[in-house]
Symmetry: C2
Subunit: 468 residues, 2 copies
């Protein structure tokens, strides 16, 4: 029966190699190029400032009742938009079978739509340049930061709301308009979003690309330099950049890839986490006031409302809720060279809003203010090591904002800190593991392995000499 | 700052290669070996029969009120166990924004615990042999089928219920007892389970392994022969076997791996599927009787209850609910050689119980009886092509049972059918794509890409000459 199989030659010409290493080589070459062919890095601040002058916005806190189109649902108390779209603020009840905190309630953002975060790339002078946008988001510290070429919800780009066209979107939604370099659904903040994921794309343009006012072409090396500055490269850019393939030098690792995936599977399997959405109304431990919803202990974050006004008459303003974390976060990888190969210490983190229980996060991802009341063994692992790090051991440091469209002043100090055996042993505590940047790069080809904070750190790693 | 990084030699000896191609080579060698070193394939039927004589069981349908420990919850009507463990039968409400059916209600099994499906392997005469178990499951056609070494829920192996020890479990739960060959969380039937996944593991034993009565060592080639027989190799075995790595000959494919993952990401992103659990009580379109819960159109499946009695006094009986599909299923891959390389036509399937909207399924996965009322363009794509296939084009065919611990007489005819350009063009309809078996093998290293039926077909592909 099987011998009857005809080996037809049909479609021979359409066969292609499964892997094309030249793509990763060109990405690595762009990362090594700090001289842009289009805009010089030293001219960038002025360019961004000009874009800021062209789009003046003011953001003001308002009481909830001044929200336009948003209201608390009579039955559930959920904060919803009258269109039933955009997002809603609901309650979440989480229980788990281990860890210091076994049960909690919290507000959470539900936004079921999958958006596109896409960066268009193109060669200039033989080097890949990335098309970045100067984009205002109400929650960002400086309002204007560098975003991906496209940052659009599904409603945006399918024009459910008949809004303005999303520029360059056709490169990401119409197959054949470009060559895909990366395309993967990645989670966003599991502590603040329920099951949220966005499509992270890098696409190489075929043919000419007209340059719009708010956009600029930068090499990955230039963006790497900007990643060393505070609050310039926004979160959406960082997560997309983390998905870029990099040349693999074939170096070994503490764990083989099979062992690493097995460790991850064990971590995900052993956690018994239940996260159920509940009404925001009378959420235990949270108090709704006129302008804020606060944790009764004054910790974690609060829900607020803002009004965005445009200084420019061409654009109208809007109002919306935002989550505002309390205090500056600290997000860090401890790093070590093992047998000459750089490794970072990942943490298998449970976050209530993750689609699947656990993702790999940074070694440390906390807002220290939330833990000042804890001492000794109750302190989160490695937190004090990071807070008290010897400056000589700090390999990377910058403050970055989280998604400014949903979070207000959500800033975190991102760090790479070199550790030694005494501080961070090769046999780490349960839930922690040493992995190489190359292993993280291979995992981010797939969704739900690496959380959004660890993806920021991966983008930062790629922008430093620590990776190699 | 970065130049201060000390290249310490710590841990050099612990570094290992990220990939070890010898593992896949040894798996492929086992697949090519049809002469077992321990049990001859011709002796297998007698061995299985003996195990059947040692464990006589009878399974009888009973009305719901005769279930012991199970009852319909007063408020929700959900069918639950008094312990709150095992599983429950609840309602599901699914809405989606495309496809012939945009909304439906159905009963669904909720079983949040992650189980372990594990096969222990070991070399005999230099060839890997797989330790398989003769295991009774009440829903299986022949009751006794060949299962993985270990098939255990978390409650089983953590002994929440103080039940009997799970044999060989220590090889899967204690790191260092073996060498991991595959370890991944895979989904189960998304049409019948809500967000269910199990840990699929293959572990090579270190040291001696005592052989218990109900167990036998077989090469992958022997298991491949048994996969050509009806109802011998159970579903849990098939899904684990599908996760085995196979040597990759470096052949090309119609789509590069990046293009394939991008196509999958687009399929998952464009689907707007909402699946919400609802009470089983008064589930629209379903009728609860004394012994069954039926679809009012007499289609899909029904919920039933059974009593399991042991003929052997050492083992006690039990009662439980089961899902009983109506009619024999048909599950098939269309195959083509493209440029000499075998490809199969996958379908990006929406199933209400999937954790993440879409997984890659077979070309055809239907119970034909459910579609007899449809004609012309309303018929599921490729279904009639498979039902009317020229026998000369059938490369593989056998009837297999789905999970016999939850489903009663859930049988499907599994097929590989060679197609041509007219029947199945290289540019297939939306939602379909050509992939190579090697690409499927690389995808099943990760969870939630390939559904359980497609994994059965992958195990069958690996057991035929179609793969190569």
């Amino acid at each position: 029966m099987l011998s009857s199989l005809v080996r037809s030659g049909s479609g021979t010409g359409r066969l292609r190699p499964r892997h094309d290493p030249s793509v990763a080589e060109r990405v690595s070459a762009s990362a090594a190029t700090t001289a842009g062919a289009v805009l010089r890095t030293e001219d960038f601040p002025q360019w961004l400032e000009e874009r800021g002058r062209a789009h003046r916005f003011t953001v003001e806190r308002i009481p909830f009742h001044q929200l336009d189109g948003w209201s608390f649902d009579d039955t559930t108390g959920n904060l919803v938009h009258r269109s039933g779209r955009f997002f809603s603020v609901e309650g979440l009840h989480v229980t788990r079978d281990e860890g210091p905190q076994r049960e909690w309630y919290q507000p959470i953002i539900k936004q079921p739509e999958v958006g596109i975060l896409g960066i268009l790339v193109k060669e200039f002078d033989g080097v890949l340049h990335f098309l970045m946008q100067a984009k205002m988001e109400p929650g960002n510290r400086n309002l204007l930061q560098l975003s991906p070429t496209v940052q659009a919800t599904r409603s945006n780009y399918t024009k459910v709301h008949q809004g303005a066209d999303v520029k360059y979107i056709e490169h990401f939604t119409r197959p054949g308009r470009g060559r895909v370099i990366a395309d993967v659904l990645q989670s966003e903040h599991g502590s603040w979003f329920f099951h949220k994921s966005n499509r992270n794309m890098i696409v190489e343009a075929l043919g000419e690309v007209p340059l719009d006012d708010d956009f600029c072409w930068l090499t990955l090396g230039q963006i790497g330099e900007l990643l060393h500055r505070d609050n310039v490269v926004n979160m959406d850019s960082r997560t997309v950049l983390a998905c870029a393939p990099f040349s693999d030098d074939g170096a070994g690792a503490l764990l083989s890839d099979t062992e690493l995936v097995s460790w991850f599977t064990a971590e995900r399997s052993r956690q018994d986490v239940r996260a159920e959405r509940v009404p925001l109304h009378e959420l235990p431990g949270w108090v709704r006031g006129r302008s804020t919803i606060d944790h009764e202990g004054g910790r974690y974050f609060r829900v607020v409302a803002v009004s965005v006004e445009a200084g420019n008459r061409e654009v109208t303003g809007w109002t919306q809720p935002l989550f505002e974390p309390l205090g500056l976060g600290v997000t860090a990888f401890l790093t070590r060279r093992i047998g000459g190969v750089p490794h970072v210490l990942v943490h298998a983190r449970v976050e209530g809003g993750f689609l699947d229980t656990v993702e790999l996060g940074p070694t440390v991802q906390y807002t220290p203010d939330n833990y000042v009341h804890l001492t000794g063994g109750d302190r989160p692992p490695f937190l004090d090591l990071v807070l008290d790090a010897d400056p000589a051991r700090i390999q990377y440091e910058a403050v970055h904002s989280e998604e400014g469209g949903r979070f207000l002043n959500a800033e975190s100090r991102y760090l790479l800190i070199e550790a030694d055996e005494e501080q961070a042993p090769l046999d780490p505590p349960a839930g922690f593991q040493w992995v190489t940047p190359a292993q993280l790069t291979s995992l981010v080809r797939h969704g739900h392995y690496v959380n959004v904070q660890a993806r920021t750190l991966l983008a930062c790693l790629n922008a430093t000499a620590v990776r190699s």
